[in-house]
Protein backbone atom coordinates (compact mmCIF):
# COMPACT_ATOMS: atom_id res chain seq x y z
CA UNK A 1 0.00 0.00 0.00
CA UNK A 2 1.43 3.39 -0.96
CA UNK A 3 1.63 6.07 1.69
CA UNK A 4 2.17 8.78 -0.89
CA UNK A 5 1.24 8.62 -4.54
CA UNK A 6 2.16 11.54 -6.76
CA UNK A 7 0.59 11.35 -10.17
CA UNK A 8 0.99 13.65 -13.15
CA UNK A 9 2.12 16.64 -11.09
CA UNK A 10 2.53 19.88 -13.00
CA UNK A 11 4.04 23.01 -11.48
CA UNK A 12 4.41 26.27 -13.39
CA UNK A 13 5.65 29.61 -12.17
CA UNK A 14 4.49 32.86 -13.63
CA UNK A 15 7.42 35.23 -13.59
CA UNK A 16 8.20 38.57 -15.21
CA UNK A 17 10.02 36.66 -17.96
CA UNK A 18 6.91 34.53 -18.62
CA UNK A 19 5.82 31.06 -17.63
CA UNK A 20 8.44 28.70 -16.24
CA UNK A 21 7.46 25.06 -16.37
CA UNK A 22 9.29 23.27 -13.56
CA UNK A 23 7.46 19.95 -13.26
CA UNK A 24 5.43 18.41 -16.04
CA UNK A 25 3.79 15.13 -15.30
CA UNK A 26 5.98 14.17 -12.35
CA UNK A 27 5.12 10.80 -10.76
CA UNK A 28 6.43 9.21 -7.58
CA UNK A 29 5.29 6.54 -5.12
CA UNK A 30 6.43 6.13 -1.55
CA UNK A 31 5.53 2.92 0.25
CA UNK A 32 4.71 2.93 3.91
CA UNK A 33 7.90 2.61 5.93
CA UNK A 34 10.20 2.95 2.94
CA UNK A 35 12.84 5.51 2.24
CA UNK A 36 13.43 7.10 -1.11
CA UNK A 37 15.90 9.63 -2.30
CA UNK A 38 15.55 12.26 -5.04
CA UNK A 39 18.89 13.09 -6.60
CA UNK A 40 19.81 15.44 -9.40
CA UNK A 41 21.71 18.62 -10.20
CA UNK A 42 20.54 21.77 -8.46
CA UNK A 43 17.69 23.56 -10.15
CA UNK A 44 16.09 20.37 -11.46
CA UNK A 45 12.98 20.77 -9.28
CA UNK A 46 13.63 18.58 -6.22
CA UNK A 47 12.63 21.20 -3.67
CA UNK A 48 9.56 22.04 -5.71
CA UNK A 49 8.37 18.42 -5.40
CA UNK A 50 8.74 18.62 -1.61
CA UNK A 51 7.02 21.97 -1.31
CA UNK A 52 4.16 20.73 -3.51
CA UNK A 53 3.52 17.92 -1.04
CA UNK A 54 3.50 20.38 1.86
CA UNK A 55 1.42 22.87 -0.15
CA UNK A 56 4.04 25.50 0.65
CA UNK A 57 4.83 26.69 -2.86
CA UNK A 58 5.15 30.44 -3.40
CA UNK A 59 2.08 32.27 -4.59
CA UNK A 60 3.20 32.61 -8.18
CA UNK A 61 3.08 28.82 -8.61
CA UNK A 62 0.29 27.01 -10.42
CA UNK A 63 -0.13 23.37 -9.48
CA UNK A 64 -2.16 20.57 -11.01
CA UNK A 65 -2.23 16.81 -10.78
CA UNK A 66 -2.77 14.68 -7.73
CA UNK A 67 -0.87 13.91 -4.57
CA UNK A 68 -2.59 11.07 -2.71
CA UNK A 69 -1.62 10.74 0.92
CA UNK A 70 -3.48 8.08 2.92
CA UNK A 71 -6.36 8.21 0.40
CA UNK A 72 -6.72 11.97 0.48
CA UNK A 73 -5.67 14.26 -2.35
CA UNK A 74 -3.50 16.89 -0.69
CA UNK A 75 -3.89 19.29 -3.59
CA UNK A 76 -7.63 19.71 -3.14
CA UNK A 77 -7.71 19.92 0.65
CA UNK A 78 -8.96 23.08 2.32
CA UNK A 79 -6.32 25.33 3.89
CA UNK A 80 -7.36 24.27 7.38
CA UNK A 81 -7.18 20.56 6.47
CA UNK A 82 -3.70 20.78 5.01
CA UNK A 83 -2.57 22.80 8.03
CA UNK A 84 -3.54 19.89 10.24
CA UNK A 85 -1.50 17.52 8.13
CA UNK A 86 1.59 19.70 8.16
CA UNK A 87 3.84 18.99 11.10
CA UNK A 88 1.41 16.33 12.21
CA UNK A 89 1.40 13.62 9.57
CA UNK A 90 4.02 15.04 7.23
CA UNK A 91 6.99 16.98 8.57
CA UNK A 92 9.75 18.66 6.68
CA UNK A 93 13.29 19.72 7.49
CA UNK A 94 15.27 22.05 5.30
CA UNK A 95 18.78 23.00 4.41
CA UNK A 96 20.47 25.95 6.16
CA UNK A 97 18.80 25.43 9.54
CA UNK A 98 20.17 28.78 10.74
CA UNK A 99 17.81 30.62 8.43
CA UNK A 100 14.90 28.28 9.16
CA UNK A 101 14.52 29.16 12.82
CA UNK A 102 13.04 32.42 13.96
CA UNK A 103 15.85 34.57 15.40
CA UNK A 104 13.65 36.39 17.92
CA UNK A 105 12.12 33.41 19.74
CA UNK A 106 13.83 30.87 21.92
CA UNK A 107 14.59 27.47 20.48
CA UNK A 108 12.46 25.83 23.16
CA UNK A 109 9.50 28.03 22.35
CA UNK A 110 9.74 27.04 18.69
CA UNK A 111 9.81 23.35 19.51
CA UNK A 112 7.02 23.62 22.08
CA UNK A 113 4.96 25.50 19.52
CA UNK A 114 5.00 22.56 17.15
CA UNK A 115 3.99 20.25 20.00
CA UNK A 116 1.03 22.50 20.73
CA UNK A 117 0.20 23.28 17.10
CA UNK A 118 -1.76 20.11 16.55
CA UNK A 119 -3.25 19.97 20.00
CA UNK A 120 -0.91 17.19 21.04
CA UNK A 121 -0.80 18.30 24.65
CA UNK A 122 -1.76 21.00 27.07
CA UNK A 123 0.11 24.25 27.29
CA UNK A 124 1.96 23.47 30.52
CA UNK A 125 3.02 20.07 29.26
CA UNK A 126 4.50 21.47 26.06
CA UNK A 127 7.73 22.49 27.77
CA UNK A 128 8.38 18.99 29.09
CA UNK A 129 7.45 17.49 25.74
CA UNK A 130 9.84 19.85 23.97
CA UNK A 131 12.68 19.01 26.35
CA UNK A 132 11.96 15.34 25.76
CA UNK A 133 12.23 15.93 21.98
CA UNK A 134 15.52 17.75 22.45
CA UNK A 135 16.82 14.80 24.40
CA UNK A 136 15.58 12.44 21.68
CA UNK A 137 17.52 14.32 19.00
CA UNK A 138 20.69 14.40 21.08
CA UNK A 139 20.83 18.04 22.14
CA UNK A 140 22.98 18.14 25.28
CA UNK A 141 21.63 19.78 28.46
CA UNK A 142 18.20 20.40 26.93
CA UNK A 143 16.79 22.15 30.01
CA UNK A 144 19.36 24.89 29.71
CA UNK A 145 19.27 24.96 25.91
CA UNK A 146 15.48 25.37 25.93
CA UNK A 147 15.70 29.06 26.81
CA UNK A 148 18.47 29.94 24.37
CA UNK A 149 18.09 31.66 21.03
CA UNK A 150 19.07 30.20 17.64
CA UNK A 151 22.17 32.41 17.36
CA UNK A 152 23.60 30.66 20.40
CA UNK A 153 23.57 27.28 18.60
CA UNK A 154 25.94 25.76 16.03
CA UNK A 155 24.69 24.67 12.61
CA UNK A 156 24.57 21.00 13.55
CA UNK A 157 22.68 21.72 16.78
CA UNK A 158 20.21 23.88 14.87
CA UNK A 159 19.52 21.00 12.52
CA UNK A 160 18.84 18.85 15.57
CA UNK A 161 16.40 21.52 16.71
CA UNK A 162 14.70 21.39 13.31
CA UNK A 163 14.47 17.62 13.62
CA UNK A 164 12.96 18.01 17.11
CA UNK A 165 10.31 20.28 15.61
CA UNK A 166 9.63 17.78 12.84
CA UNK A 167 9.43 14.87 15.28
CA UNK A 168 6.87 16.56 17.55
CA UNK A 169 4.11 14.24 16.40
CA UNK A 170 6.12 11.29 15.03
CA UNK A 171 4.83 11.89 11.48
CA UNK A 172 4.14 9.13 8.98
CA UNK A 173 6.32 10.87 6.40
CA UNK A 174 9.47 12.89 6.93
CA UNK A 175 10.69 15.06 4.07
CA UNK A 176 14.32 16.09 4.39
CA UNK A 177 15.48 18.63 1.82
CA UNK A 178 19.28 18.67 1.72
CA UNK A 179 19.45 18.25 5.51
CA UNK A 180 23.23 18.04 5.64
CA UNK A 181 24.29 20.29 2.79
CA UNK A 182 25.31 23.35 4.78
CA UNK A 183 27.01 21.41 7.59
CA UNK A 184 30.59 20.38 8.33
CA UNK A 185 31.54 16.89 7.18
CA UNK A 186 31.82 15.41 10.68
CA UNK A 187 28.51 16.96 11.69
CA UNK A 188 26.91 15.66 8.48
CA UNK A 189 27.66 12.10 9.52
CA UNK A 190 26.06 12.66 12.94
CA UNK A 191 22.90 14.11 11.46
CA UNK A 192 22.63 11.25 8.96
CA UNK A 193 23.02 8.82 11.86
CA UNK A 194 20.31 10.61 13.83
CA UNK A 195 17.82 10.57 10.96
CA UNK A 196 18.56 6.89 10.35
CA UNK A 197 17.90 6.06 14.02
CA UNK A 198 14.67 8.01 14.11
CA UNK A 199 13.14 6.53 10.97
CA UNK A 200 13.84 2.98 12.13
CA UNK A 201 12.70 3.69 15.69
CA UNK A 202 9.38 5.24 14.70
CA UNK A 203 8.80 3.45 11.39
CA UNK A 204 8.56 6.67 9.44
CA UNK A 205 8.78 6.89 5.68
CA UNK A 206 11.49 9.18 4.38
CA UNK A 207 11.65 11.35 1.30
CA UNK A 208 15.23 12.54 1.15
CA UNK A 209 16.43 15.19 -1.25
CA UNK A 210 20.14 15.47 -1.73
CA UNK A 211 22.86 15.75 -4.27
CA UNK A 212 25.21 13.91 -1.95
CA UNK A 213 25.05 10.33 -3.19
CA UNK A 214 26.89 9.13 -0.10
CA UNK A 215 24.15 10.44 2.16
CA UNK A 216 21.57 8.92 -0.15
CA UNK A 217 23.20 5.50 0.04
CA UNK A 218 23.40 5.75 3.81
CA UNK A 219 19.72 6.52 4.35
CA UNK A 220 17.62 5.21 1.50
CA UNK A 221 16.47 1.96 0.02
CA UNK A 222 15.20 3.46 -3.23
CA UNK A 223 16.34 6.27 -5.46
CA UNK A 224 14.85 8.43 -8.17
CA UNK A 225 17.20 10.39 -10.41
CA UNK A 226 15.75 13.67 -11.65
CA UNK A 227 16.73 15.66 -14.70
CA UNK A 228 15.03 18.94 -15.68
CA UNK A 229 11.95 18.23 -13.61
CA UNK A 230 11.51 14.63 -14.66
CA UNK A 231 12.54 11.28 -13.28
CA UNK A 232 14.99 9.68 -15.71
CA UNK A 233 15.79 6.58 -13.69
CA UNK A 234 14.41 5.03 -10.55
CA UNK A 235 14.65 1.82 -8.61
CA UNK A 236 16.41 0.11 -5.76
CA UNK A 237 19.32 2.34 -4.72
CA UNK A 238 21.96 -0.40 -4.61
CA UNK A 239 20.97 -1.64 -8.03
CA UNK A 240 20.86 1.80 -9.62
CA UNK A 241 24.15 2.92 -8.12
CA UNK A 242 25.94 -0.30 -9.02
CA UNK A 243 24.53 -0.70 -12.49
CA UNK A 244 23.27 2.67 -13.69
CA UNK A 245 21.41 2.43 -16.98
CA UNK A 246 20.60 5.98 -17.92
CA UNK A 247 23.54 7.97 -19.35
CA UNK A 248 22.71 10.83 -16.97
CA UNK A 249 22.86 8.56 -13.92
CA UNK A 250 26.18 7.23 -15.17
CA UNK A 251 27.52 10.73 -15.58
CA UNK A 252 26.23 11.72 -12.15
CA UNK A 253 27.89 8.75 -10.51
CA UNK A 254 31.10 9.33 -12.39
CA UNK A 255 31.06 12.96 -11.27
CA UNK A 256 31.68 11.88 -7.69
CA UNK A 257 33.73 8.77 -8.29
CA UNK A 258 37.10 8.15 -6.62
CA UNK A 259 39.27 9.92 -9.17
CA UNK A 260 38.09 13.33 -8.06
CA UNK A 261 35.17 15.45 -9.17
CA UNK A 262 34.46 15.34 -12.88
CA UNK A 263 31.63 17.70 -13.73
CA UNK A 264 29.04 16.48 -16.18
CA UNK A 265 29.72 17.78 -19.65
CA UNK A 266 27.53 20.62 -20.86
CA UNK A 267 25.37 22.89 -18.74
CA UNK A 268 22.16 22.38 -16.81
CA UNK A 269 19.31 23.03 -19.24
CA UNK A 270 17.17 26.11 -18.89
CA UNK A 271 13.65 25.05 -18.03
CA UNK A 272 12.23 27.71 -20.32
CA UNK A 273 14.24 26.45 -23.24
CA UNK A 274 14.28 22.65 -23.34
CA UNK A 275 15.47 20.85 -26.47
CA UNK A 276 13.34 18.76 -28.82
CA UNK A 277 13.44 15.02 -28.25
CA UNK A 278 15.16 13.62 -25.17
CA UNK A 279 15.97 16.52 -22.85
CA UNK A 280 19.37 15.10 -22.03
CA UNK A 281 20.52 14.49 -25.61
CA UNK A 282 22.67 17.66 -26.01
CA UNK A 283 24.85 16.43 -23.13
CA UNK A 284 24.60 12.71 -23.88
CA UNK A 285 27.66 10.98 -25.35
CA UNK A 286 25.48 8.22 -26.86
CA UNK A 287 22.81 10.36 -28.50
CA UNK A 288 21.46 9.11 -31.82
CA UNK A 289 18.98 10.47 -34.32
CA UNK A 290 15.87 9.21 -32.57
CA UNK A 291 17.04 10.91 -29.33
CA UNK A 292 16.90 14.25 -31.13
CA UNK A 293 13.46 13.59 -32.55
CA UNK A 294 11.24 11.91 -29.96
CA UNK A 295 11.03 12.12 -26.21
CA UNK A 296 11.43 8.78 -24.40
CA UNK A 297 8.85 7.57 -21.88
CA UNK A 298 9.65 6.24 -18.43
CA UNK A 299 9.62 2.45 -18.94
CA UNK A 300 10.74 -0.08 -16.31
CA UNK A 301 12.18 2.74 -14.28
CA UNK A 302 14.24 4.25 -17.09
CA UNK A 303 13.66 7.06 -19.53
CA UNK A 304 16.00 6.36 -22.45
CA UNK A 305 15.65 5.08 -26.03
CA UNK A 306 18.96 3.31 -25.94
CA UNK A 307 19.39 1.70 -22.57
CA UNK A 308 19.22 -1.84 -23.90
CA UNK A 309 22.09 -1.13 -26.25
CA UNK A 310 24.39 0.38 -23.65
Amino acid sequence: MNLLHINDLHVNFSTKAGQVRVLSGFCLDIEKGSSICLVGESGCGKTIVALSIMRLLPENAQVSGEIQFKDRDLLILEKEEIRQIRGHEISMIFEQPASCLNPVFTVGDQIAESVRANGLCKKNEARDAAIELMRLTGIPSPKKRFDQYPHEFSGGMLQRVMISIAMASKPALLIADEPTTSLDVTVQAQIVELIKDLITKFGMSLLLITHDLGVAAELCRDVAVMYAGEIVESGCLNEVFRHPKHPYTKALLRAISDDGLRPIKGSVPELTNLPEGCWFHPRCPFAEDQCRLSKPELKNGIRCHLWKKN
Partner: protein, 317 residues
Protein backbone atom coordinates in the same frame (compact mmCIF):
# COMPACT_ATOMS: atom_id res chain seq x y z
CA UNK B 1 25.68 49.02 29.20
CA UNK B 2 27.34 51.95 31.00
CA UNK B 3 29.47 52.67 28.00
CA UNK B 4 26.33 52.77 25.92
CA UNK B 5 24.55 55.17 28.27
CA UNK B 6 27.62 57.35 28.38
CA UNK B 7 27.68 57.47 24.56
CA UNK B 8 24.04 58.49 24.55
CA UNK B 9 24.67 61.24 27.07
CA UNK B 10 27.51 62.54 24.95
CA UNK B 11 25.21 62.55 21.93
CA UNK B 12 22.61 64.44 23.91
CA UNK B 13 25.13 67.13 24.77
CA UNK B 14 26.38 67.43 21.20
CA UNK B 15 22.86 67.72 19.78
CA UNK B 16 21.82 70.27 22.38
CA UNK B 17 24.88 72.43 21.84
CA UNK B 18 24.62 72.20 18.07
CA UNK B 19 20.95 73.04 17.90
CA UNK B 20 20.94 75.83 20.45
CA UNK B 21 24.09 77.43 19.03
CA UNK B 22 22.47 77.50 15.63
CA UNK B 23 19.28 79.09 16.96
CA UNK B 24 21.33 81.61 18.87
CA UNK B 25 23.16 82.57 15.72
CA UNK B 26 19.97 82.83 13.69
CA UNK B 27 18.28 84.97 16.30
CA UNK B 28 21.25 87.28 16.46
CA UNK B 29 20.79 88.10 12.80
CA UNK B 30 17.00 88.30 12.98
CA UNK B 31 15.64 91.83 12.81
CA UNK B 32 14.38 93.06 16.19
CA UNK B 33 16.54 94.47 18.96
CA UNK B 34 16.04 92.56 22.22
CA UNK B 35 16.96 95.63 24.26
CA UNK B 36 14.18 97.61 22.60
CA UNK B 37 11.73 94.75 23.17
CA UNK B 38 12.54 94.68 26.87
CA UNK B 39 12.21 98.47 27.05
CA UNK B 40 8.74 98.36 25.47
CA UNK B 41 7.66 95.52 27.75
CA UNK B 42 8.81 97.35 30.87
CA UNK B 43 8.15 100.99 30.12
CA UNK B 44 5.33 101.02 27.59
CA UNK B 45 4.93 102.09 23.96
CA UNK B 46 7.72 103.07 21.56
CA UNK B 47 7.18 106.82 21.91
CA UNK B 48 8.52 106.87 25.48
CA UNK B 49 11.79 105.16 24.54
CA UNK B 50 15.00 107.10 24.42
CA UNK B 51 18.13 105.69 22.89
CA UNK B 52 19.86 106.20 26.25
CA UNK B 53 17.33 103.96 27.94
CA UNK B 54 17.79 101.28 25.30
CA UNK B 55 21.58 101.25 25.51
CA UNK B 56 21.37 101.23 29.31
CA UNK B 57 19.15 98.12 29.14
CA UNK B 58 21.45 96.59 26.56
CA UNK B 59 24.38 97.00 28.90
CA UNK B 60 22.43 95.82 31.95
CA UNK B 61 21.31 92.62 30.23
CA UNK B 62 24.72 91.94 28.77
CA UNK B 63 23.38 92.26 25.22
CA UNK B 64 26.32 94.38 24.14
CA UNK B 65 28.78 91.53 24.69
CA UNK B 66 30.03 89.50 21.67
CA UNK B 67 27.66 86.71 20.61
CA UNK B 68 29.86 83.87 21.83
CA UNK B 69 30.06 85.41 25.30
CA UNK B 70 26.27 85.70 25.35
CA UNK B 71 25.92 82.10 24.27
CA UNK B 72 28.44 80.88 26.83
CA UNK B 73 26.54 82.72 29.54
CA UNK B 74 23.28 81.16 28.43
CA UNK B 75 24.84 77.67 28.47
CA UNK B 76 26.29 78.31 31.90
CA UNK B 77 22.85 79.14 33.24
CA UNK B 78 21.36 76.03 31.65
CA UNK B 79 23.52 73.93 33.96
CA UNK B 80 21.55 75.39 36.84
CA UNK B 81 18.28 74.77 34.96
CA UNK B 82 17.98 78.52 34.55
CA UNK B 83 16.70 79.34 31.07
CA UNK B 84 16.28 83.01 31.76
CA UNK B 85 13.07 85.02 31.75
CA UNK B 86 10.65 86.00 29.05
CA UNK B 87 11.45 89.37 27.53
CA UNK B 88 7.74 90.11 27.28
CA UNK B 89 6.16 88.86 30.49
CA UNK B 90 9.23 88.39 32.66
CA UNK B 91 8.03 84.84 33.56
CA UNK B 92 10.78 82.22 34.03
CA UNK B 93 11.15 80.35 30.72
CA UNK B 94 11.56 77.03 32.49
CA UNK B 95 8.22 77.34 34.31
CA UNK B 96 6.44 78.52 31.21
CA UNK B 97 7.63 75.57 29.12
CA UNK B 98 6.71 73.10 31.81
CA UNK B 99 3.25 74.56 32.12
CA UNK B 100 2.83 73.99 28.35
CA UNK B 101 4.47 70.58 28.27
CA UNK B 102 1.47 68.44 29.38
CA UNK B 103 -0.62 69.71 26.48
CA UNK B 104 2.08 68.84 23.96
CA UNK B 105 2.66 65.46 25.55
CA UNK B 106 -1.06 64.72 25.36
CA UNK B 107 -1.15 65.71 21.71
CA UNK B 108 2.00 63.75 20.89
CA UNK B 109 0.79 60.56 22.56
CA UNK B 110 -2.65 60.78 20.95
CA UNK B 111 -1.09 61.36 17.52
CA UNK B 112 1.37 58.50 18.03
CA UNK B 113 -1.54 56.22 18.87
CA UNK B 114 -3.53 57.25 15.80
CA UNK B 115 -0.37 57.00 13.73
CA UNK B 116 0.37 53.44 14.83
CA UNK B 117 -3.27 52.38 14.55
CA UNK B 118 -3.26 53.49 10.92
CA UNK B 119 0.21 52.50 9.76
CA UNK B 120 0.68 49.06 11.32
CA UNK B 121 -2.62 47.32 10.47
CA UNK B 122 -2.83 48.78 6.96
CA UNK B 123 0.83 48.04 6.29
CA UNK B 124 0.48 44.44 7.44
CA UNK B 125 -2.73 43.92 5.53
CA UNK B 126 -1.32 45.23 2.28
CA UNK B 127 1.74 42.99 2.69
CA UNK B 128 -0.27 39.87 3.48
CA UNK B 129 -2.69 40.61 0.64
CA UNK B 130 -0.02 41.84 -1.72
CA UNK B 131 -1.32 43.21 -5.04
CA UNK B 132 -4.92 42.91 -3.89
CA UNK B 133 -7.50 45.69 -3.92
CA UNK B 134 -6.60 46.59 -0.32
CA UNK B 135 -2.97 46.95 -1.32
CA UNK B 136 -3.78 49.30 -4.22
CA UNK B 137 -6.17 51.37 -2.11
CA UNK B 138 -3.57 51.76 0.61
CA UNK B 139 -1.05 52.73 -2.03
CA UNK B 140 -3.35 55.51 -3.23
CA UNK B 141 -4.01 56.55 0.37
CA UNK B 142 -0.30 56.81 0.98
CA UNK B 143 0.20 58.95 -2.10
CA UNK B 144 -2.56 61.32 -1.00
CA UNK B 145 -1.23 61.28 2.56
CA UNK B 146 2.31 62.22 1.63
CA UNK B 147 1.31 65.00 -0.71
CA UNK B 148 -1.07 66.69 1.75
CA UNK B 149 0.47 69.50 3.79
CA UNK B 150 -0.69 69.36 7.40
CA UNK B 151 -2.26 72.83 7.46
CA UNK B 152 -4.39 71.86 4.49
CA UNK B 153 -5.43 68.55 6.04
CA UNK B 154 -6.27 70.43 9.24
CA UNK B 155 -8.54 72.81 7.35
CA UNK B 156 -10.27 69.96 5.50
CA UNK B 157 -10.89 68.13 8.78
CA UNK B 158 -12.23 71.29 10.41
CA UNK B 159 -14.48 72.01 7.44
CA UNK B 160 -15.92 68.52 7.44
CA UNK B 161 -16.12 67.47 11.08
CA UNK B 162 -16.59 70.83 12.78
CA UNK B 163 -18.41 72.99 10.33
CA UNK B 164 -20.32 70.59 8.07
CA UNK B 165 -21.12 67.79 10.56
CA UNK B 166 -20.73 69.88 13.69
CA UNK B 167 -19.39 66.91 15.64
CA UNK B 168 -16.15 68.32 16.91
CA UNK B 169 -15.02 71.76 18.12
CA UNK B 170 -13.01 73.88 15.70
CA UNK B 171 -10.24 74.75 18.11
CA UNK B 172 -9.36 75.24 21.74
CA UNK B 173 -8.47 72.87 24.55
CA UNK B 174 -11.39 72.42 26.89
CA UNK B 175 -11.56 68.64 26.76
CA UNK B 176 -10.85 65.37 25.00
CA UNK B 177 -13.06 66.19 22.02
CA UNK B 178 -10.72 69.10 21.33
CA UNK B 179 -7.82 66.69 21.01
CA UNK B 180 -9.28 64.54 18.23
CA UNK B 181 -8.80 66.80 15.21
CA UNK B 182 -5.26 68.01 15.96
CA UNK B 183 -4.13 64.49 16.85
CA UNK B 184 -5.70 63.07 13.69
CA UNK B 185 -4.06 65.73 11.56
CA UNK B 186 -0.66 64.94 12.99
CA UNK B 187 -1.19 61.17 13.00
CA UNK B 188 -2.32 60.93 9.37
CA UNK B 189 0.47 63.25 8.28
CA UNK B 190 3.20 60.89 9.45
CA UNK B 191 1.33 57.60 8.94
CA UNK B 192 1.53 57.63 5.16
CA UNK B 193 5.21 56.88 4.65
CA UNK B 194 5.32 54.48 7.57
CA UNK B 195 2.49 52.38 6.12
CA UNK B 196 4.69 51.69 3.13
CA UNK B 197 7.65 50.84 5.34
CA UNK B 198 5.56 48.46 7.43
CA UNK B 199 4.44 46.82 4.22
CA UNK B 200 7.92 46.33 2.79
CA UNK B 201 9.34 45.24 6.11
CA UNK B 202 6.55 42.70 6.45
CA UNK B 203 7.00 41.48 2.86
CA UNK B 204 10.68 41.00 3.50
CA UNK B 205 10.00 38.96 6.62
CA UNK B 206 7.28 36.88 4.94
CA UNK B 207 9.83 35.70 2.37
CA UNK B 208 12.18 34.38 5.05
CA UNK B 209 12.81 30.70 5.59
CA UNK B 210 11.65 30.74 9.20
CA UNK B 211 8.19 31.74 8.06
CA UNK B 212 8.15 28.67 5.82
CA UNK B 213 9.18 26.60 8.86
CA UNK B 214 6.38 28.13 10.92
CA UNK B 215 3.87 27.11 8.25
CA UNK B 216 5.49 23.69 7.82
CA UNK B 217 4.90 22.83 11.44
CA UNK B 218 1.19 23.44 11.00
CA UNK B 219 0.76 26.75 12.80
CA UNK B 220 -2.38 28.76 12.15
CA UNK B 221 -1.83 31.58 9.66
CA UNK B 222 -2.82 34.11 12.34
CA UNK B 223 0.09 32.92 14.50
CA UNK B 224 2.49 32.83 11.57
CA UNK B 225 1.70 36.48 10.77
CA UNK B 226 0.87 37.87 14.19
CA UNK B 227 3.67 36.21 16.11
CA UNK B 228 6.49 35.02 13.86
CA UNK B 229 6.38 37.68 11.17
CA UNK B 230 5.28 40.68 13.20
CA UNK B 231 7.95 40.56 15.87
CA UNK B 232 10.68 40.50 13.23
CA UNK B 233 9.02 43.18 11.14
CA UNK B 234 8.76 45.40 14.23
CA UNK B 235 12.51 45.97 14.32
CA UNK B 236 12.62 48.40 11.34
CA UNK B 237 9.14 49.70 12.22
CA UNK B 238 10.30 50.86 15.64
CA UNK B 239 13.18 52.74 14.03
CA UNK B 240 10.92 54.62 11.68
CA UNK B 241 8.37 55.30 14.42
CA UNK B 242 11.13 56.89 16.49
CA UNK B 243 12.17 59.06 13.57
CA UNK B 244 8.57 60.00 12.90
CA UNK B 245 8.25 61.13 16.48
CA UNK B 246 10.70 63.87 15.55
CA UNK B 247 8.63 65.03 12.60
CA UNK B 248 5.65 64.86 14.90
CA UNK B 249 7.23 67.53 17.09
CA UNK B 250 7.88 69.54 13.98
CA UNK B 251 4.26 69.13 12.88
CA UNK B 252 3.06 70.02 16.37
CA UNK B 253 4.30 73.56 15.80
CA UNK B 254 1.94 74.01 12.85
CA UNK B 255 -0.96 72.01 14.23
CA UNK B 256 -0.94 73.58 17.69
CA UNK B 257 -1.07 76.98 16.05
CA UNK B 258 -3.98 76.11 13.77
CA UNK B 259 -6.03 74.46 16.50
CA UNK B 260 -5.02 76.94 19.22
CA UNK B 261 -3.68 74.04 21.24
CA UNK B 262 -1.71 75.47 24.17
CA UNK B 263 1.46 73.40 23.83
CA UNK B 264 5.15 74.06 23.48
CA UNK B 265 4.88 74.27 19.68
CA UNK B 266 2.45 77.16 19.84
CA UNK B 267 4.57 78.77 22.53
CA UNK B 268 7.49 78.62 20.13
CA UNK B 269 5.54 80.27 17.31
CA UNK B 270 4.22 83.00 19.61
CA UNK B 271 7.70 83.63 20.96
CA UNK B 272 9.10 83.91 17.47
CA UNK B 273 6.42 86.44 16.53
CA UNK B 274 7.18 88.48 19.61
CA UNK B 275 10.94 88.07 19.28
CA UNK B 276 11.00 86.63 22.79
CA UNK B 277 14.52 85.31 22.43
CA UNK B 278 15.04 83.43 25.74
CA UNK B 279 11.70 81.72 25.28
CA UNK B 280 12.63 80.65 21.72
CA UNK B 281 15.92 79.26 23.01
CA UNK B 282 14.13 77.41 25.76
CA UNK B 283 11.59 75.80 23.41
CA UNK B 284 14.29 74.73 20.95
CA UNK B 285 16.35 73.24 23.76
CA UNK B 286 13.34 71.40 25.09
CA UNK B 287 12.39 69.93 21.70
CA UNK B 288 16.00 68.83 21.08
CA UNK B 289 16.08 66.97 24.39
CA UNK B 290 12.79 65.22 23.69
CA UNK B 291 14.14 64.22 20.30
CA UNK B 292 17.24 62.58 21.75
CA UNK B 293 15.22 60.85 24.45
CA UNK B 294 12.88 59.41 21.82
CA UNK B 295 15.89 57.94 20.05
CA UNK B 296 17.08 56.45 23.30
CA UNK B 297 13.71 54.79 23.74
CA UNK B 298 13.98 53.31 20.24
CA UNK B 299 17.37 51.86 21.08
CA UNK B 300 16.06 50.33 24.27
CA UNK B 301 13.21 48.68 22.41
CA UNK B 302 15.70 46.94 20.09
CA UNK B 303 17.08 45.23 23.12
CA UNK B 304 13.64 43.93 23.87
CA UNK B 305 12.79 42.97 20.27
CA UNK B 306 16.01 41.42 19.07
CA UNK B 307 17.81 38.87 21.24
CA UNK B 308 20.91 39.18 19.07
CA UNK B 309 21.33 42.80 20.16
CA UNK B 310 20.82 41.77 23.78
CA UNK B 311 23.49 39.14 23.37
CA UNK B 312 26.03 41.47 21.81
CA UNK B 313 25.48 44.08 24.49
CA UNK B 314 25.95 41.55 27.25
CA UNK B 315 29.14 40.24 25.74
CA UNK B 316 30.68 43.58 24.89
CA UNK B 317 30.62 44.92 28.41
Amino acid sequence: MWRYLFGRLLLLIIVVIGVTALTFLMMYYTPGDPAAIIAIARYGGPESLSSDLISWIRHQEGLDAPIYIQYAKWLHHIFYLDMGRSLITDEPVFDKIFSRFPATLQLALASMLIYLLIAIPIGILSAVKQNSLIDYLSDIGVLVGVSMPSFWLALILILFFSIYLGWLPVCGSQGLSYLILPATTLGIGIAATTTRIVRSSMLDVLGQNYIRTARAKGLKEAIVIGKHALKNAMIPIVTIAGLQFASLLEGAVVVETIFAWPGVGRLLVDSINQRDFPMIQGCVLFIAIIFVLANLLVDCSYVYLDPRVRYNRRHQV
